[in-house]
């Protein structure tokens, strides 16, 4: 299968993506800025190193790796990486969340080029990923593609995540990689002050998953770990726990739950871009 290794510096991709996230939510006047900033390096590593068979602007390859943004509110980051990878023009990001736009508040596979699965209600993506992986496992013509599902650590409070974890783990389902963007925050509080999913690694392991851990803001390390998880997933499901910071890259957003679903105003945008581009 065609492996879309690009030679672009992942740190530059990450910087560009952060800039687009700030510009997107600022322009829309809303959007999930914090959780988009925490997933930046994960998306950069996936879309510029790890995912096979991408064909931006062309016909979809049925053998391509699949990606599901289960933390579906983090679309500013998702659409940003799709734009940077060439699925649609970067300028289109300014239509985010506006009437008639292909870029809906939450991912819509029927509207947005490059989106493999509609999501938005937390907890569903991993189960959808099970369906993709089960399809790849039983239909040779699909070329044994691998499905990556990105979740939040707060999302692990949803019960369906554990229905999926139990199913895939107990049945040793191949071709499925779960990624946890473990930024430690959720909408209204820290994750630890809520229904705390820690220790995350031990939970996935006990459900029968191979567990990998990575610095979620080191894109090269992430690319290596995601590659390792991709390879390991031929024997069963793999989970990559990426330790991240919500709002990463903008000092006044980092670690602040209030930036979960908030857009920067004009001066905040300028300050944020200054930090990101410095």
């Amino acid at each position: 299968m065609k492996h879309d290794v690009t030679d672009k510096d992942l740190r530059i991709v990450s910087r560009d993506l952060r800039k687009l996230i700030i510009e997107t939510t600022h322009h829309a006047g809303m959007g999930h800025t914090g959780g988009s900033l925490s997933e930046v390096e994960i998306l950069a590593a996936l879309y510029f190193r790890v995912l096979r068979g991408l064909n931006p602007g062309g016909a979809e390859d049925p053998k391509r790796d699949r990606f599901i943004l289960s933390k579906g509110h983090a679309t500013p980051g998702y659409y940003g990486i799709l734009a940077l990878r060439g699925f649609f023009p970067v300028e289109e990001l300014m239509s985010f969340d506006s009437l008639g736009s292909r870029l809906q508040a939450h991912p819509d596979m029927k509207k947005t080029p490059g989106v493999d699965m509609s999501t938005g209600s937390l907890g569903q993506g991993l189960s959808c990923g099970i369906g993709f992986a089960a399809a790849a496992a039983r239909d040779e013509s699909l070329g044994g593609f691998v499905t990556f599902v990105l979740m939040g650590d707060g999302e692990m409070q949803e019960g369906q995540v554990w229905e999926a974890a139990l199913y895939a783990g107990s049945r040793h389902l191949p071709g499925l990689v779960a990624i946890v963007d473990a930024n430690g925050l959720q909408l209204a509080s820290t994750v630890s002050d809520s229904s705390n999913p820690e220790p995350i690694n031990a939970k996935w392991r006990s459900f029968g998953w191979m567990v990998f851990e990575a610095d979620g803001h080191n894109p090269e390390e992430l690319a290596e770990v995601l590659e390792a998880a991709r390879a390991a997933s031929k024997d069963g499901p793999a989970a990559v726990i990426a330790r991240t910071v919500k709002g990463k890259g903008v000092s006044f957003m980092e670690g602040r739950p209030e930036w979960h679903g908030k857009a920067p105003d004009d001066s905040e945008k300028d300050a944020a871009l200054k930090e990101i581009l410095s």
Binding site: Q124, S127, C128, I130, G131
Partner: protein
Amino acid sequence: MIGERIAQRRAFGRALVEMAPDYPKMLVLDPDVCTSTQTALFREAFPERFLPMGIAEANAVSAAAGLACCGFIPWVSAFSVFLAARALDQIRVSVAQTGLPVKLNAAYGGLPSGRGGATHSSVEDLAVMRSLPGMTVLCPADAVEAGAMAREAMRISGPVYLRTVRCEVPTIFEDDFRPEIGKAVVLNEGSDVAIVSEGMMSARALEAAKILKNEGLGVRVLHVGTIKPLDEAAIIKASRECGALLTVENHSVLGGLGGAVCEILAESAPCRVRRLGFPDVFMESGDDEAIFSRFGLDAEGIAEAARNLAGIEEQSGEGHEHSRNQ
């Protein structure tokens, strides 16, 4: 054979097995109810195409959507209450919003749930399912139509909610009957009053029509096997030609067939309407027929409601107790 009592789930299970060779991409996902919903027949015949999903409807529905993205046509076969209520969010986002060809076999629809009482009686599911854009909602009258609709569901490009009942129901259609999705069927001609019924209630509506025929009342029985898309023309025609219309459903009177019919008639062809179904209460344990009778959902109760609606009082002058519950 007409009149023979057969369980729809049996017909459904058989239809899956019979269709399987024609649809190599068809799969069955089972949240641990296959011996009840009769997809165990499929498990026996095509074990490699049968996915035991454990007692986890939400995971099963979303996984089915993922499979459907990759060219498979999955049936999720479960109790209707645990699809329409428990897995509603998954059906809404992963299945209806995407328009994927996920087929939902909603067994144990309505009251007959094996004496399951309030938790297992699925009397709100039609209201919920018909409100989802793009969802086709089917309620076959008997085993013949259940099997035929399973086949029709495979020809529909999007999602389908096929609702059957647990109990045995009398056969009203000949073996070669082929339902047309979106078309109601006139089971009995008449123009004094119309009974518009769904699913297993249509056999009872026919019985009621026979009772009333002996009293000189011409009852049109319109079987609505497709709740969505609804055959609006047939309902408007019944309203205009009969002037009075009784809806009968194995479902709450809120938002199901009665609600759907009223939505159309209020805008296009108002007439006297009465809705027969379960009132706004939770079901309780007990014999199915005793509960049906309590709410006037037996042939006598339907006949009485239609009689009253037509404006002809019962000659004996004594009404049935159960009708007062409506």
